[in-house]
């Protein structure tokens, strides 16, 4: 009944982040526009401090807090660290971009941090209520971020679509959760799993709930046939926000899927039920994502379809139903976040005042303009396509390995075929960069920080691909200790 200090110790990073958001919110009021660098520095410092606290308090066992509402396990620590890194990289990449578009305001930073808090709540949720509240905190912040570029009608339209469809998805999720509550009599994840394992739950109602929960989850991940919002939102949103949506929230969505499907509904016949649903979602996502991406001329829209196909691959890892499958899915989503950051970072780098480098033509002849950036983009595209020795290859390989071991060889073959189709549009960008004459010959200008981070990001796609063992070990350890 009474809260003790043991309740607050695991929640330290969340508490720190919330306090710092409030500090930044107030401190920003006293800063003039030309002093906004202070807000930026404070935001990055906050993320670094949260990373330090998370690293210092990470343990190899599982601990609960707040009457089973909150769980601190190795998976949550690992995913939170990845979220901090990708949010910080997003802020560094987008600083110049948002400054030129009148979005360089305190709200950009506070809303990003609120979204980060939402992701952390989701990642550490041990209760359906917390999963839902974390998701809403994340989504509401993202809706506002998409609409933050007020002069752009496209952004407003994208925000409206995102909001309406997101609300619909939340509704479905809640409906599913209420049915699971009706069938099992609890919302706490271990208890739900317990009731299902002992067979004291009504299976018909449970199955109904499962369908709604999977539909809601597919909406949030952007898996086909619940994908219609993804391309419009990616294209309409300011590029820095599209970068944000496509990276860190996917990590949180992975945690959501693990908590919801594996930890609470992963027993016996239910496992087989949602495996079949995910097989359908995965095949459709890979097919529609990869084939539709070929027809796109807008790079942001193409990347949106590429995200859809990557989410299909992620679902493959989860549906294999084994711990090695879950850890390879975690590896996959981390690698996807890494390459997504770099690719959108490159669009941000080439954009300037009044000009968005989001068409394929804008990348023509990049090698003439800057061989180094063209090389980095080449690495990122190779990684997205899954060409060795980049990290994308290893990520795809480990997921396929898990799928084959789970006995779905035909599914693995299908996934390889769709990946081959997908390789076409990634390699098309490489061709445009190296073999075409540049259309746009403006010199590329950027901050020192952006250049360094983008170089690290691109090189990481190669280096982690050559020595993938350590990241894979981190993911495996996290999943083994958690499940």
């Amino acid at each position: 009944m009474i809260l003790t200090s043991a309740d607050f110790l695991p929640v330290w990073p969340e508490v720190l982040l919330l306090v710092m958001v409030c500090v930044i919110l107030i401190a920003d009021l006293f800063l003039r526009d030309e002093q906004r660098g202070g807000t930026y520095a404070l935001t990055l410092l906050t993320l670094a401090a949260c990373a330090l606290v998370t690293a210092a308090s990470s343990r190899t066992d599982v601990s609960f807090a707040f009457h089973g509402m909150f769980v601190d396990d190795p998976m949550s620590d690992t995913l939170k660290m990845m979220v901090y890194i990708s949010v910080a990289a997003m802020l560094v990449y987008s600083r110049g971009y948002v400054r030129l578009r009148g979005m360089y305001r305190g709200e950009f930073f506070t809303l990003s941090l609120f979204a980060t808090l939402g992701m952390m709540v989701m990642i550490s949720a041990n209760h359906f209520l917390m999963l839902y509240l974390g998701l809403e905190l994340l989504s509401l912040s993202l809706y506002a971020l998409v609409a933050l570029h007020r002069e752009s009608a496209d952004s407003t339209e994208a925000a409206m679509k995102y909001f309406v469809l997101g609300a619909l998805a939340s509704g479905m999720l809640l409906y599913g959760m209420s049915m699971i509550y009706g069938a099992t009599g609890s919302l706490e994840i271990p208890r739900v799993a317990d009731r299902i394992a002992t067979g004291s739950a009504n299976m018909t109602i449970l199955l109904f709930g499962l369908v709604f929960v999977v539909a809601g989850l597919a909406f949030k991940l952007g898996a086909v046939p619940f994908h219609m919002w993804v391309p419009d939102v990616y294209q309409g949103a300011p590029t820095s926000v599209a970068l944000f949506i496509s990276t860190a929230p996917k990590l949180a969505a992975f945690a959501f899927a693990i908590r919801m499907l594996v930890q609470s509904l992963g027993h016996g016949s239910l496992l087989i039920e949602w495996q079949q649903m995910l097989i359908l979602l995965a095949i459709l996502s890979m097919a529609v994502g990869n084939i539709t991406a070929i027809a796109q001329t807008n790079l942001k829209r193409m990347l949106a379809y590429s995200t859809i196909s990557h989410m299909g691959f992620l679902l493959l890892g989860i549906l294999s139903g084994t711990v090695s499958g879950y850890s390879s899915a975690m590896f996959y989503v981390a690698v996807y976040a890494l390459t997504g950051l770099g690719t959108f970072g490159m669009i941000l780098l080439l954009s300037r005042e009044g000009f968005e480098a989001d068409r394929l033509e804008d990348f023509k002849g990049l090698n003439r303009r800057s061989p180094w950036y063209a090389f980095l983009m080449l690495l990122l595209m190779f990684s997205m396509a899954g060409i060795p020795p980049t990290v994308g290859f290893y990520a795809k390989l480990s997921v396929l390995d898990a799928v084959v071991q789970a006995g779905y060889t035909w599914l693995a073959v299908l996934a390889v075929v769709f990946s081959l189709i997908g390789a076409f549009y990634y390699l098309r960008i490489v061709r445009l960069m190296y073999f075409d004459e540049p259309v746009d010959t403006t010199p590329i200008q950027s901050d020192f920080g952006v250049r360094v981070l983008l170089s690290i990001n691109g090189i990481a796609a190669l280096v982690v691909g050559i020595v993938p063992g350590w990241l894979m070990t981190i993911c495996q350890r996290a999943m083994q200790a958690t499940l």
């Binding site: 809260l3 919110l25 707040f66 709200e107 209760h127 917390m130 509240l133 905190l137 506002a144």
Partner: protein
């Protein structure tokens, strides 16, 4: 008939009558006031069910806040009453269909297996000093303190987002900041320049200029 059942029937009668008047009243202000009456009587019914916190919350939130806002809107808008009454009876048939469908659904639930009176026995009587409000507060601030705080953060995000998306400074605003006005110094407004003195013109010169 016990005292509580007399109160129940009295409140129910008032509730049904006022709900009917909400949709039949000619004046929208009257309709809104009848809605207030039905909320208050519903709160009375909840009190009978020993849900005193919900009853007070209904009065405070719906009557105190939502309906007052609603009345403001109704009074501010210039509503054409004749247009509002048009086609009132045209909707009778679909309205009846919907009403009967809802009635059938409620009957199916209440006479069904899970929610019939037999499977829902009356709860054990609570001790005299039992307080709903205290119990709710205790739960919210102990077991559910974490979701409670996160819900508060969501409200904070809503405030930040609403202001970030709607606050605009008007470019054509004639607003003058009094604080900046009083700190003005003479040298900000008046500039004294020294220049060569000019010879004042005589009256003869001026008449020459006019006549050309």
């Amino acid at each position: 008939m016990t005292y509580s059942s007399i109160v129940f029937y009295a409140f129910s009668l008032i509730l049904v009558a006022s709900a009917l008047r909400v949709i039949t009243a000619r004046n929208p202000v009257h309709a809104a006031l009848f809605l207030v009456l039905s909320f208050v009587t519903a709160a009375g019914l909840w009190l009978l069910l020993e849900a005193e916190f919900l009853a007070i919350a209904l009065v405070l939130v719906y009557v105190g806040a939502v309906m007052v806002l609603f009345l403001f809107v109704v009074m501010m808008l210039d509503i054409n009453l004749d247009r509002l009454r048009e086609g009132y009876w045209d909707y009778l048939v679909p309205a009846l269909v919907v009403a009967f469908a809802m009635l059938a659904e409620m009957a199916a639930v209440l006479w069904g297996k899970y929610f019939s009176l037999g499977s829902m026995p009356p709860p054990a009587p609570l001790p005299a000093n039992y307080s709903n409000t205290r119990e709710l507060g205790r739960l919210l601030y102990t077991d559910y303190v974490y979701p409670f705080e996160i819900a508060a953060v969501i409200l904070l995000v809503a405030i930040v987002a609403a202001i970030a998306l709607t606050l605009r400074r008007r470019k054509d605003s004639k607003y003058v900041d009094p604080a900046r006005q009083v700190v003005v110094r003479r040298r900000d407004r008046v500039r004294i320049v020294s220049m060569a003195a000019e010879k004042p013109r005589t009256a003869v010169q001026e008449t020459e200029e006019v006549t050309g």
